[in-house]
């Protein structure tokens, strides 16, 4: 699942998954601004076939938080 999230984020940010580095979060990635955040959320909803709640969408600003939410949905 982590790989799929990586791939999704990388596609939106126009990077190869390898270039994302260790700490994948809005804080550490310059391109992950609010506009790309919205795009990432759109893509994640599609890829995992889920609908995020208001708060989830607000909070999913790092790989850890994203996995936490996705794992909770299984």
């Amino acid at each position: 699942m982590k790989d799929k999230v990586m791939e999704t984020i990388a596609a939106i940010l126009n990077l190869t998954p390898g270039k994302l580095g260790e700490n994948v979060s809005a804080e550490s990635l310059e391109d992950w601004d609010s506009i790309n955040h919205m795009k990432i959320m759109i893509a994640l909803e599609e890829e995992f076939g889920i609908e995020l709640s208001d708060d989830e969408m607000m909070e999913m600003v790092s790989m850890d938080r994203i996995l936490e939410v996705l794992n909770g949905r299984k």
Binding site: A11, I12, I35, M38, K39, I42, A43, E46, D54, M57
Partner: protein
Amino acid sequence: MEKITYSAVHKILSQAETGRLPVYRITVLRNITCEAIEPYLRYYGLRSGFEVEVSFGQYDNIFQEAVGQEAVSGLLDEQTDCVLVCCNIMVLSPLIYRQYVGVDARDLKAELERLENYFHNVATGIRNKTKAMILWLSPREFFNPALGILDYQYANGQLGLVQEVERLLQEQLRSFGNAYLVKQDHLLQKIGAERFYDLRHWYLFHCPYSKEAFQLLAEECFIFVRAAGGKARKCLVLDCDNVLWGGIVGEDGLDGIRLSDTYPGLVYKDFQQQVINLFKRGVIIALCSKNNEEDVWEIFEKHPDMLLERGHIAAWRINWQDKATNLRELSEELNIGIDSMVFLDDSPYEIELVRTEVPEVETIQLPAGKITANAGVLSECRLFDTLVFSAEDSSRGQMYVAEARRKKLKGQITDLDSYLKTLEMELTISLVDEISIPRVAQLTQRTNQFNLTTRRYSDQQISSLAGSDDSDVLYSHLRDKFGESGIIGVCILKYKGECAMIDVFLLSCRALGRRVEDELLGNALELARSKGCRQATAEYLPTRKNIQVKEFFPLKGFTVVDCNPDGVTRYRLELEPDGVKKRAACFKQVSVKFN
């Protein structure tokens, strides 16, 4: 709506070989967050044959960027092809959208005036900076009016006001030319408000739309782009059995096929009406069917419920040959590009064959097992949408039918000039006027083959060229014993000192091979001379489609000045003071009206 995920769009875009495609630059001015539309714009651009580059203005800076004196570099300039304005009413007018109840009528009236001025100033500002096409998203959004059902009872209710705002915008845009209103209502209705909007996006990011809305909006924008760029399809090629009627004529016969005023025959009758509507809009109708030809015509002539007539059909291939070959032949016979054709069939086999063999042809397959959807297929496909409607459009279908009869005559005579004489052609060459502007603009937008420079002009641009002392816009109009061909040639001259520059020289494909170009060129040069010009210059700008006119200017006596590696060639011709040589006498009459 095409089902494609956001990630898939990104993937397609990152893998596309865009280097060879023409670049199309879109600038988005907005008062909302709408960056998420970018991948869809690029995706639909790619599908229309463009490499799209999108630049966004600052959030809620529409007025500043359009009207401000300090140009934001690269945002609005001569390189811009299209300006997309996303101006949302929620941000634009909180007074109408949010407050409304209890607001004084005078304040509402003042608000409407403010908005009208705003639209005018922004459109003027954009126009002063760029000639690009302006696409302005309707400010109207779906909402529940504050006064509920009561609101529906009054023209100046909240919904009525929003409608009025849209009307004011529409009026402003119309006065600018090459500026269009992009309605959202029909897109919203397609998927419903709940899927069109996303409140999480609104409250978290100042973006009202869902990703599906962005996809629909981007697709809609490219219908405009295609229409303005001459990429609207011109010809519909139809299969017959199970398309024009239910059943198979060869097996079921005249009495057995389904075509009537009740189900299932009504489905086919409605479909035929849609075809006729397209014909009246100027779409050329052709048939391509595996049948015995006489069986098909028998239905056309004898079936009481046939709406289509032989007079609607410009050309046909009713035979047992494969349909790809037939389509190629039809494109040759009608003298139109194969990429301006749409092929419609119920058989997945035929559709697949055409897709593989002639991918330039757009295909429509009727939905299997759902004949009730047939009639809607044509009105929903949007492939024939255009931005101008001229008098010629309403009779183009007939013109092509007349052309087919001329061709038959041509087969019997071998010498071209004697053939042309039998047509009794009457040619008029004249300066463009109010009435002919839309058609002349349309020819510059649509003509691809006999077009030396392929410069596209809007109504408004033609009008200002015609009004200027430094340029003239000429057109030629043709009729013959078979009927009107209408306005079929355009020449635009731009004067500089004693030199006349041929900016546009084009001929509609239905007037090819009739010596119209000689008369038009000869008279254009004559006009230049009468204005004191001693020299004419001309250009050939090669495209994928205009190779046939590569040698046009040299053949007419022009000498090459220079030629760059891309094939762009410039020519010159000295205008002799004693007038041009006598031209071919294949016309019954040539009238020249330059006053």
